[in-house]
Symmetry: C2
């Protein structure tokens, strides 16, 4: 028996309780019974986004929610700023260009976090910038961008909104959207929400909703004003992901039982333990200055092909990590801390890496990484 | 105990075998293991569409696949013809107008089917029409449009494609897309496919793929060329609906075990029995000349509010039918035959309607509708 562990930054493992909820019989979506479930899900999402605004639930992957944030607020030739520190930063630019926007890019080396001062300098130079796009956690580089600091800069500009892809930061970091002044925040079900892929979430500030009124980019399935009108009545414009929404109410219940503060802390501790363990093994982390609590990228030692290592882990050891993307392919692996992931999943991950390195001929002291993990965890264990 | 029956034209009931398949643990989508499952699903879909072309699987509701058929093949100001015989026909026009197309509409009274001769006359008058849009089965009016005849007309025009929303006709009717000359056909998981909402399917002829090359309408999440490139390698551009795709392979296995011919026949027999039963009860059918085998719409007798009747059925009897849309609201109910629906579900539906009519004060001979059903079914039962 090869017992399997999914330790990649999405999709992430789903608790059996949630899977069984999803397996319940389908019900019709235009009923009071479903609306009650939908209302519970909608309300349950707000604290995770740190907002009192409506959180809209879409039936799509997160990429569609990124596209929705663009096509609902902007018009052709509008100038925007994309903060591009990795694969998902790049994606903002790719979408925006398809819609004929004027895209300025603040590019960071993969592994570096964005700096609020750079954003401020750019906006001072180009005050006609309509929107600034960023990731909370840039999954490709396992870097956390300083959302609070950048929000504080953007909110100085009355005609500029701040749009955050929180796909791997919502549910990982305590993000105070309303308080900090984030204008759009979006996420996806298959990350910290402990669900299979299929739902995307997006919420807009009143400043962003105001912009939707003048936006002329074409949209239909992703028309957020139409969705808002429906979702305020606890229904949807198009057929919703009925069974995934059952699962969402269950996972939100589980998250509330654990407590959001505890969830954020759990992610932080697992991430810290992972970083200390990998460093103790002599490995180099991918994130240079602001490692994310969603996932940790690490360079394989010279001479080890990360693609082969990742394949070996998955097929022979039962552990699914993620590899590196684009230039990082074959160089790094990424270890997730997202969602339904506890201390012993981190121990498992580190133990697997230690053993794998040995199998691949790297001179590693077995147990050293695990010991570093345990050091971190032990400090947080309850008193005997 | 109120045992529940979902007899509305979508979402439709999902077999327990499929629900449990969906409840299996999530796996990473960028793996050979998932690709094998995805390949099985892709290949399994082709016979249902009557095509040798790739069937692309999207993570969305069917409406997004309708939008995809427009934004991938056309450019602003292109002239199109929308065949509008109901709510979903209308939707083609609504989407197309959002993207700045020139929309001609061939409008039919709700309950009437489209006529190939009308389409031919229109195309002769406007040979610059780039695409003709239709539903296979128009769910709002429970009418089947003559796809084969209209395809034969459209294929005479070299620069015009024929686009079919097969959301409630694929899996219900034997549709020979390649043979008849349909250029785009799409469908959704929550209808004949015996799955929860969340997957949409779309397939294009070579003539339609050719048009994608010159299409300039903006798209990102719904970019079919990008999807095709990925799906030909048994992967997807964006995160796919992993668990729903597990379910899809299971439901396709079940459909193959039953045999597609038998599935089409089952739908036809249940629809025929329903029509005969409702007529025997003295009720008037919604479809005038070409009733669909996906669902049967029926007018409530004078003095019975269909909204109240439908509510009573759902809340007090446990049977979910669908009501009428727009002008038909309060006037009709719609009885589904779609997907995981057997003879005794039809008997249940008719029995419930008989009893409900009596409760609502209509002078009905109990058992008369069921007898008419049984007459139809008995003729198809195996020999003793």
């Amino acid at each position: 028996m090869l017992k399997k562990f999914l330790i990649a930054p999405g999709p992430t493992p789903v608790p059996a309780e949630v899977l069984l909820e999803i397996a319940k019989p389908v019900m019709h979506h235009r009923t009071a019974e479903f609306s009650a479930i939908f209302a519970e899900a909608r309300n349950g999402l707000k604290p995770l986004f740190g907002t009192s605004q409506d959180v809209i639930i879409l039936l799509s992957s997160g990429t569609a929610a990124m596209e929705a944030s663009i096509v609902n607020t902007l018009s052709q030739n509008d100038r925007i700023l994309v903060i591009d520190g990795g694969k998902f930063g790049e994606r903002w630019g790719s979408i925006a260009k398809k819609y004929g926007l004027t895209v300025d890019t603040l590019k960071y080396t993969w592994g570096e976090s964005a700096k609020a001062a750079d954003v401020e300098a750019h906006l001072n130079k180009f005050p006609d910038t309509k929107a600034v796009f960023i990731q909370g956690s840039e999954t490709s580089t396992t870097v956390y961008h300083p959302l609070k600091e950048i929000a504080a800069v953007v909110r100085k500009f009355d005609n500029t909104i701040f749009v955050v892809d929180g796909i791997t930061s919502v549910g990982v970091y305590d993000t105070k959207m309303d308080e900090w002044g984030i204008d759009i925040m979006l996420s996806g079900s298959q990350k910290a929400f402990m669900l299979p892929p299929g739902l995307a979430f997006i919420t807009l500030s009143q400043k962003a909703w105001k912009m939707t009124e003048s936006s002329t980019l074409p949209k239909f399935y992703l028309n957020l004003a139409t969705e808002l009108k429906n979702q305020k009545k606890d229904t949807t414009a198009w057929t919703p992901g009925v069974n995934l929404i059952y699962g969402l109410t269950k996972s939100l219940q589980m998250m509330n039982e654990e407590g959001l503060e505890n969830i954020y802390k759990r992610h932080a501790i697992c991430a810290e333990a992972t970083r200390k363990a990998l460093t103790a093994l002599g490995l180099k982390l991918l994130a240079v200055d602001s490692p994310s609590n969603a996932a940790t990228g690490v360079f394989m030692p010279e001479g080890i092909d990360a693609v082969k290592f990742e394949y070996y882990m998955r097929e022979k050891v039962g552990i699914t990590f993620a590899g590196g993307q684009d230039d990082l392919k074959g160089k790094v692996i990424r270890v997730s801390h997202l969602g339904y992931h506890g201390l012993f999943d981190t121990i498992t991950a580190i133990s697997a890496i230690e053993m794998g390195l040995k199998v691949f001929g790297y001179n590693v002291q077995l147990g050293k990484g695990v010991a570093a993990c345990e050091e971190v965890f032990a400090a947080h264990l309850p008193k005997a």
